[in-house]
Structure formats: C-alpha cells, structure tokens
C-alpha cells in the first residue's frame, strides 16, 4: 500500500434497498477491498430509518458516498459504477494498478 496510516472513513447514504443502492454498495466494497484494504471504515446509513441524518452531511441525492476522513469532505453521488471516477473523487491513488 501507498501511505502508511490514513484511515479512510466512508459513509454511504442510501434510502432503502433500491437497486441503485445495492449496486453502489457492492461497487464501493469492491473498490475498498482492492485499494484500501484494512485501512478504511464503511458506514451505511439508511435515510428511511434515520431521516434526520440527511441534513448533517448535506445529502440530497441517493446514493451518496461521503468521505469523512481524510478531510476535506468529498462526495460522490450515483451508483459508483465508474471506478476511475470514484477513485478520483475520493482521491485514492490506485496503487494496485501501478504494480
């Protein structure tokens, strides 16, 4: 892996188990396992259950992936189907690809 200790704190906001949410979650897990293995935490928040949480992270689109740590906060909306865009958006250096 590249840098030593950045712990990635990721949050995925969904609203129920819609196909988009499911796709987004499985995509995200795949990328994380590939690029951030062992150094990330992923929290999935279902806004249908916790609607009050939408305001705090300024969520308006579903699904939204929020990178809480490292700062600054980054957001990616959509089903995360484009790996490259997600990695750029989260500012993850695709280390494994270089190898």
């Amino acid at each position: 892996m590249g840098k030593k200790d950045p712990t990635w704190e990721l949050r995925l906001y969904v609203a129920g188990k819609t196909p988009k949410s499911v796709t987004a979650l499985s995509n995200l897990k795949k990328y994380c396992e590939t690029h951030l293995k062992g150094s990330y935490t992923l929290e999935v928040i279902d806004l249908l259950v916790h609607p009050q949480l939408a305001e705090g992270d300024q969520i308006f689109a579903i699904p939204t992936l929020v990178r809480k740590v490292p700062v600054p906060i980054r957001k990616i909306i959509g089903d995360l189907s484009n790996e490259e865009k997600v990695l750029v958006g989260l500012d993850i250096r695709p280390v494994t690809k270089k190898v």
Partner: protein, 522 residues
C-alpha cells in the same frame, strides 16, 4: 382530485390575497420567478412567516442559496424573527448546500435524499407550507440534467400528494419565464416579479401569469418592499360604485365657500387647484388643512416641493398656524422628493399612510412634480387609483397642480381634470403695471357654483377673495379696483377712504357691495 372550485391558502401578504382572490392554490405548488433582486426570497419568507403567525400553518423553508444564518439576519430587518419561530417549531429552515466542485457524479442516482429531508422537515413540525428557494441551484450543482428533470417532476407530484402549499422560486430566463423551464412542471399558479428601472427610478411589479382553476387579476400590480415586508397594491378595486356623501365641508376660505354654493366642497370629493407658480396654491391647500384641523379632523399633507418646516414657516406668514395641529397629532406631514421613488411606490406609501393614520382630508402638493417621475398617462392612472382609494374611504382630497402658462389645456391639468370633482383655477392677471391673482371655479360637480372671477388676495391675515370691479371703466383689479372703490365710497358716503392697502381690503371682503359686479368675466 377535487371537483369543486379550488381551495386557497391565504398568503398574508398585504394586497396579494385580493389580487389572487383569496391566496395561492391550496395544496399545490406555485412558481414565483423573476430576475435577481426582485424580491422572490422575501416574498416566500413572508409567505412562511405570515402563515406561521397569522394562520397557524407551520412552514418549511428550504433554501439552496443562502445559509440559514444569513437568511435569518437578512429578514430580521423586516421584523421577522425566524429563530424564534424556528425554536417554537412554527417554521423550519433547511439549507441545502450544493457545490459542484465537491461532488462527483458517477452512474445512476435520484434525489431521494432531498425528498427524505423535506419529508422529515415537514413531518417534524406538521408543515402546511413549503418553500423551495431556489431549486434551480440544483441545475448548477448537478451535471445529469436528465435525472434532475425527471426528479423535479417527481418532486412536484410528490409535493401535491403531500398536500402542502408550496412556493418554488426560480430565476428569470432569456425569453422564458425561468432559466431552466421550471414553469413546465409547476402549472397551477405562476407569479412573475419584476424590478425595472424607468428613467432611473425603480418600480417593482407583480403579475399573475397563470392561475389554473381560478379567476385572478391580470394586470401588473406594483408592490413595495419596506420595513413591514411586501405590500401589493391592487388596482382592480377600481369601481365607480361607491357611496357618496352630500355633506359639505369648508374650504377654509370664506369667499371660496361662498363661491361654492355658500357651503364648500362635498366631503369625500376631489379638488384640483391649478395655477402658475406663485399664485398661492399651497396657501389654499394649507387653509383647507387648517379648516379641517379646526373641525378636529385628521389630515395628511403630502408635500413634494417643500419640507414640512418650510411650509409651516411660510404659512405662518399668512396667519396659518399649522405647527399647532402637528403637535396635537391632527396633522401629519409627509415630505419626499418625487424622484425618490417611482410613482407606484409613492402611491403605495400614500396608501399605507392613509390606512394607518385614517385622515379625513388629504392634500397633495403638488401633483405636477410627480410628472417628473412618470409619463402623464402613468400619473393619471396613479391618481385615478389614489382618488378611488381615498373616496372609498370617504376622504376629501385636494391636489395642487402647477400650470406653466395660463392656458387651461395644460397637460397636467388635462390629465386629471376629468377625474376631479371640483377644479379651481388661480391665474395671474396683469394690468396697470401690476400683477394680481384671479381665482375662478372651472367646474364643481353637483353644486351651483359661482361663475365669477374673483380677486384672490393673500395677506398676513390670511387668504381672502374680493370681487373684481366691473363698471363703466372696464374690469378693474388690484390697486385700480381699490382706487375705484375709494372713489365710489367718497361719492356714496362723503367720507375719505383709507389708503389702498391690502389688509383693510381684506377686512371689507365680506361686505363688498354686490352691485359692483353683476357679470361674469370670461
């Protein structure tokens, strides 16, 4: 879907509910669009605040533009305490922050997050009203317009299903109502706000472009934003079916009352005093005001030429003490430069002052100065509305108008002469090397008025009217008349006359002999 005529939600915005015939369509979205600075946000804030305060309808204000703290401080100047309302759960503010630079889009998404937020906000306070200001910011923040449009359509359907009365604001677009064509989604009610400059004077206007299922006023209505929020001035109330009074009130000038069938003006009528400069129009108006104050009636004096202290000082020189009535609260002055606002704003200001002070008599001195801020047609329409409003309240109004020349078909006069009930003309009569004032009544509806030209005398005792001498030597006015009178008196009683001064002339005013003047001078 309802089949009966649509239910309406009162906005609480002064005048708007009259124009819309009861408010905005209940349970439906209304689109408010206009250019920057036209008052969209304020309009929607007032809708929410008035709803919470007046109608006990909680409201959600979702802003995409201003942070809630900014919004709170911006509208505090209008006396809206959003924080207090929010803590008492009357309203709820939600700021949706969208910054394109911080958002990456990949693949399919929807705006469920926004829906959930909105629903949560609505449900948490039981909101009946919702404002989305300005939802168009989503267009700037999101790339995928296809998704956005589909989601907006869904949002408006959802709002309707939710049964909330909503206002959606949007920026005016080039050649279309809104920049992003929101009018295609919100089809129940569309209101356009406009802030335009005409001859460097700003005028705000409101127009209801569309109101499905309801009759509505179709004109452009002027509106005003001041420290009490928005006031829309409806002009639809323009009807010629008002109650009239046959009570008569004094003009404050004895001779003038005599000319008006010995009784004075009709209460609730409108009077125009026109004449060239320096003929004493303001003095006539001040006499009228003083007479009203003596009857313990409230008056408002709108001065567009002089400041209140100036008028008070000047009138003191002709024995009119206006300051006394200002002190005891019967007389209110409102002085402003004509160019300070547009015509409409002047009208709205007058309208509000009249509503507040509830005067019996209103004086506008002079209306011709208003022409500097509007074209004659506009001034006429404004005055028509003003007269209409005043007469509906039974208020007697006196306008003064400056006529540049002595012709009666001067533009300003003509524009409003058909509107007024009584038209008094003051004119210069130049003869024998001196300039005197003549006064006559051009018209006075509903009374047998004098057709004579009388000499109009202003002295430190006040205003008086004297008959002009018409005799074998022709028409005599001023000192020539004095001389003739002295001559006449000498012949008649043998005593010598007093010197030809203005004061004694005035004292004799009431006793001027009737046989001096039998003919009217044209």
């Amino acid at each position: 879907m309802k089949l009966q005529s649509i239910a309406k939600t009162q906005t609480g915005i002064s005048g708007l509910d009259q124009v819309t015939g009861g408010g905005l369509p209940k349970g439906r979205p209304t689109l408010i669009c206009g250019g920057p600075g036209c008052g969209k946000t304020l309009f929607s804030v007032e809708f929410i605040v008035k709803g919470a305060i007046l109608y006990n309808e909680p409201g959600v204000f979702m802003t995409f533009e201003e942070k809630t703290e900014e919004l709170v401080s911006n509208v505090a100047s209008l006396g809206f305490d959003l924080e207090k309302l929010q803590s008492s759960k009357k309203i709820r503010l939600d700021y949706v922050y969208i910054e394109r630079g911080e958002i990456e889009e990949t693949g399919e998404y929807d705006l469920d997050g926004l829906f959930i937020r909105l629903e949560h906000a609505i449900d948490s306070i039981g909101a009946k009203r919702v404002v989305l200001d300005t939802i168009e910011n989503l267009f700037a923040g999101l790339q995928n317009q296809g998704i956005l449009r589909a989601e907006l359509r869904r949002l408006f359907t959802w709002l309707k299903a939710k049964g909330v009365t909503a206002i959606i604001t949007a920026e005016k677009g080039e050649g279309s109502l809104t920049r992003h064509g929101l009018e295609e989604y919100v089809s129940d009610c569309v209101i356009v706000l406009d802030h335009r400059m005409i001859d460097q004077v700003s005028t705000r206007r409101l127009r209801i472009v569309k109101y499905r299922g309801s009759a509505h006023g179709t004109n452009e209505y002027p509106f005003l934003i001041d420290d009490e929020g928005i006031s829309v001035l409806p002009v639809t109330s323009l009807r010629l079916a008002r109650e009239v009074s046959s009570q008569r009130i004094s003009s404050g000038i004895k001779g003038l009352d005599e000319m008006l069938g010995n009784k004075g003006f009709f209460r609730g009528g409108s009077i125009l005093v026109s004449g060239p400069s320096g003929t004493g129009k303001t003095s006539i108006a001040s006499s009228f005001v003083q007479a009203a104050c003596r009857r313990k009636e409230r008056c408002i004096f709108f001065a567009f030429e002089e400041s209140p202290p100036q008028i008070v000082r000047n009138m003191r020189s002709i024995n009119l003490d206006l300051a006394r009535y200002i002190r005891n609260g019967l007389l209110q002055f409102h002085s402003s430069h004509p160019t300070e606002h547009g015509l409409e704003q002047h009208l709205v200001t007058m309208y509000k002052m009249v509503r507040k002070f509830k005067p019996k008599v209103v004086v506008i001195d002079p209306i011709t100065n208003l022409i500097t801020v509007g074209i004659v047609r506009d001034v006429k329409s404004m005055l028509m509305r003003l007269i209409d409003m005043l007469q509906a309240e039974g208020i007697t109004v006196m306008f003064t108008a400056l006529a540049i020349n002595n012709t009666t078909n001067d533009q300003a006069d003509e524009a409003i002469s058909s509107l007024v009930d009584t038209w008094i003309q003051v004119r210069d009569v130049e003869a024998n090397g001196e300039r005197n004032r003549g006064l006559f009544i051009m018209k006075s509806r509903g009374m047998n008025h004098s057709k004579k030209v009388r000499e109009f005398v202003i002295s430190d005792q006040g205003i008086g009217l004297v008959d002009i001498y018409v005799g074998p030597h022709g028409i005599l006015i001023g000192s020539a008349r004095e001389a003739q009178k002295l001559l006449h008196n000498e012949k008649g009683s043998g005593r010598t006359g007093k010197p030809a001064q203005r004061n004694p002339r005035l004292k004799q005013n009431g006793s001027t002999s009737k046989r001096k003047n039998k003919k009217a001078i044209k």
